[in-house]
Symmetry: C2
Subunit: 361 residues, 2 copies
């Protein structure tokens, strides 16, 4: 029985490609004739090691990760990295944080437990509706690193440039990794929770320059020490095996779709269509300013909380799921991750037009 057609605009965990789900389903109870599910495999078995190495190799290829950098498959989400990063890299010194949304704000607050945080930029005054320019960044001398979040899921803004800093760049790419090419060599550390563009929730990918290893504060938990994790190739303890397997399937799908360049082309097309409509609309208002807009999360509202709520209800009734904005911002949010087909955007715009006709005076 075919499943009901819905379009899932959730900000994460979020839509996965149907072919990926179908493959996972086919292999679920018996992986490649092994008589076992991937979920039953010892993480030390050759069969799982092959899955693990495969996912790592595919990610390395997809993002052209240079040999100077290590790839780690961890647990704990971005929130654990908020602490891991300063514990491993701050050395009790100063780090620059660009606060462009909720998660970079939380990361900055957490880092204060482990050293000095210098706010290099804060776009809170205008509701985080834009990304600061390079000229606006107030960089401190001798910062241990510069921290930013490349895409702000809640506010719908995305950095369109890579900051120029003397300090190593540390970037939270949770919500736009694999959506465009990245010059990994420019970063000291990139990390991402997997649950948007990579895999189901429960996996955190860290890509870091080996030159940054070995600076942990003494009380850093063993399983948060990058050096230890690199030494054990992410298997100091049992990794989130199923999510790593799913990442491998996702990366196969990304490769089939033309890799990150293919993803970039498609995400631009999807987002441009929706922003174009929003800018023409007499009812809906886009939150993020042009030049700062995210291709992954499009935030908008009507200006009336009642109308917003009616819109969200009506959308759900049509199978356009999870378009309600984050509780911090209100309004609406359409997340257009890699796995969102253009039909989803078309269906959303069609409904918006209909809604606008009904409610616009």
């Amino acid at each position: 029985m075919a499943r009901e057609q819905v379009f899932n605009f959730s900000a994460g965990p979020s839509v996965l490609p149907l072919p990926v789900l179908e493959r996972a389903k086919a292999e679920l109870a018996d992986y490649h004739g092994s008589g076992m599910s991937v979920m039953e495999m010892s993480h030390r078995s050759p069969l799982f090691q092959e899955i693990f190495d495969g996912a790592k190799a595919k990610l390395k290829a997809a993002l052209s990760v240079p040999d100077t950098h290590e790839i780690l498959f961890l647990q704990g989400g971005a929130t654990l990295q908020f602490a891991s990063i300063p514990m491993n890299l701050l050395e009790g010194g100063t780090a620059d944080y660009a606060v462009t949304g909720n998660f970079s704000g939380k990361a900055a607050a957490e880092a204060q437990k482990y050293g000095t945080v210098h706010i290099a930029a804060d776009t809170g005054a205008t509701g985080h509706d834009r990304i600061p320019s390079q000229a606006e960044l107030q960089l401190s001398r001798d910062a241990k690193y510069f921290y930013y979040c490349s895409n702000n899921t809640i506010y719908g803004t995305e950095w369109q440039y890579v900051p120029e800093t003397a300090a190593p760049l540390v970037c939270d790419m949770s919500s736009d990794i694999l959506s465009r090419p990245v010059d990994v060599s420019r970063y000291g550390l990139i990390y991402a929770g997997a649950q948007k563009n990579m895999a189901p929730a429960g996996l955190t990918v860290v890509i870091l320059d080996r030159a940054l290893l070995g600076r942990e504060l003494p009380f850093t938990p063993e399983v948060m020490r990058y050096q230890t994790l690199v030494k054990h190739d992410s298997m100091l303890n049992t990794p989130p095996c199923w999510c790593i397997y799913m990442l491998g399937l996702m990366l196969d799908w990304v490769a089939e779709q033309g890799g990150v360049r293919g993803m970039e082309e498609r995400k631009r097309e999807r987002a441009a269509k929706l922003y174009d409509y929003l800018d023409d609309s007499g009812l809906f208002i886009a939150h993020a300013r042009p030049g700062s807009r995210s291709d992954m999360n499009v935030t908008f509202r009507t200006g009336s909380a009642e109308l917003d709520a009616a819109f969200v209800r009506g959308a759900a009734a049509r199978g356009l799921l999870n378009v309600k904005g984050h509780r911090i911002t209100g309004g609406m949010r359409a997340s257009l991750y890699n796995a969102m087909p253009m039909e989803g955007v078309d269906a959303l715009i069609a409904y918006m037009k209909e809604f606008e006709v009904q409610h616009h005076v």
Copy 2:
């Protein structure tokens, strides 16, 4: 096509019940007609909340968790708890640790970063082949907690009693949770990595007495503070949704099999059969001493590394997978978790008998 019949004796991740895998497979691409996989659901959606609440309620029922205790669904494995526990409960004071194996030893070493560790017992002198008696425990005055690991996966020993201590009991039940009834009210904190008896790797369950909340060291990461996690009902950030869903399915299966009492009956039967054979064998030697033996992990050897290797190879050829012992101990290990059918034990014993006839002089 039926999958090949194998018996997976892995110490973890490990065998899951086939009916659980079949159910997960059936629902994988379309959960209850929602048009979505569980892996695609927002963790804030009512549909996922239902799955989450259901798993929690089922676990509470299965272990008769009293209302004084909270249940948390976390990430990071036991290894992260090695740090979380002293960060949250040690307050820079002293804690008693019973070292009866590899993981309790690691937990004790980690805790030293956060306060004073007093070794209340250490069975290392005899290769951790036994559990200390109550009389042997050297309890320190004013300990913040007493820590032990109820089942030692690597050595194949299991505590047959609950220690009597003035300090709150903290127990790592990673490898025997849900295999027998537990009087949760006697514990300050119980935790378990899910990948043996509960769910796929990537979920850690913590059950703790609310009376112990609010004692964190100042540098404790936000996502490791039990108080914060309780406040957010494990959703400070995105939880490992798929594993929580799988835990729910596992708990349904446990309930169908007579709950933890049913599990206990069956595990005793399985282990007794194998230990009886081992004690009669002229070739194989059980590692753990009677009275300390684990029903979950049965460790044994022939006394010859060559024969051990031949045994492991021959077992694999017969579909008896992962019977190789841990690299620390060598020899063999048969893990008989909840999902291991008696047929697996019978097949293993049949092969052991055959091997013994061939190799015993």
